[in-house]
């Protein structure tokens, strides 16, 4: 890895632009904060929070059918609320809903709830036959994000990009656990 690469969130933002992904809906995560801030600051993007991740799947589906490309940013627990709407809207109707998931619940998670829900994410994606890739290295970030977005649009299939703590640093581990 060279030291000249920009931070992951800058790479992601530029890939969104290159693919005309303009509509950004999110339910936030601390790890996504720098990306969300940069997207809000850039007038190229329309960027807003939804009350629930399901809503964003609806908004992105409608927007894509009417000619506007977008993506949903969320964390692992948010993804776990989505199987019904993913199966019956983007999967059934062949709509390329894109998702970027900050991976919580692994590699130093402190919240047992996050750790439990994390284990459901890839099995859900696999059972829906949804394309998904995990970005863990800065030098692979542009390639994986760009190619996944392109393939989703070209094949009219939803896809998920999982941002590993290996890429983002994750959320800092707090403490060392209860003492016996």
């Amino acid at each position: 890895m060279t030291t000249s690469l920009p931070p992951w969130h800058e790479i992601v933002l530029n890939v969104f632009k290159a693919n005309e992904v303009k509509l950004i809906t999110y339910v936030p995560d601390n790890v996504l904060k720098p990306l969300i801030q940069a997207l809000h600051a850039d007038p190229y993007f329309t960027c807003f929070a939804t009350a629930r991740e399901e809503e964003a799947v609806g908004i992105l589906s409608g927007a894509w059918m009417a000619g506007l490309k977008g993506i949903l940013l969320m964390q692992t627990s948010g993804f776990a609320t989505l199987p019904n709407v993913l199966a019956s809207l983007p999967c059934a109707f062949q709509i390329p809903v894109l998702m970027m998931i900050s991976e919580r619940g692994t590699l130093g998670e402190f919240n047992v709830g996050q750790a439990a829900v994390c284990r459901t994410m890839r099995p859900i994606l696999d059972s829906l036959a949804m394309e998904h890739h995990t970005v863990s290295r800065l030098d692979e970030c542009e390639f994986i994000v760009d190619r996944t977005i392109r393939q989703a649009h070209l094949t009219q299939a939803p896809a998920a990009l999982i941002l590993s703590p290996l890429l983002t640093g994750g959320k800092a581990v707090q403490g060392t656990g209860a003492q016996a």
């Binding site: 609806g58 409608g62 059918m65």
Partner: protein, 202 residues
Amino acid sequence: MSATTHNLKRMYRFDLTQRLVAKLKQEEAVIGGIGHSNFDLWAVGHRPQNFYMLGSMGLAIPIAMGVAMAQPARKTFALEGDGSLLMELGCLATVAAQAPKNLIIVLFDNGIYQITGGQPTPGLHADYVAIARGCGLATATWAADEADFERLLDNALATDGPHFIGCKLDEQKPRAQTERDPAQIRDRFMRGMGTKKNRTLG
């Protein structure tokens, strides 16, 4: 126009849908929520600008909001049932925050899950217009009867929204059942929206 639910006429969904579609002269988009909301839209007569949901209960308003944001010059309707809206009440806050001017929400409130056997929803004491207003949709209103519904539609088509029109329904069943072919529904809708342009289908 009414802000309260007492004395509201309980109306027939097919008749209201027919009245709505008759007013559409500018290729307006219409998103029919799951179940009977889209069955009667289909029964009135297919238009390329109609999208019929098959699942994803509660997402008619978000889908319509996405269409409205992508094409700000096109008026876009969401036809949603009360049971569906209860699944995704938070979307009304999102609509109010983004305030797409071309979005018109029509709520069909029969108080029951008609398609699953008529069980009452938990919204027995819920006033959805009051909820919409509380979320920031200040002009949300109940239609008192059919003539009032038509007047509210004319106003919604002529003025900036987002608009929210609540309708109390009787318990009459839908006239037909939508053909369940999601890829075809999506393809025809995209042609209706002008995002697919070749002329193989309509």
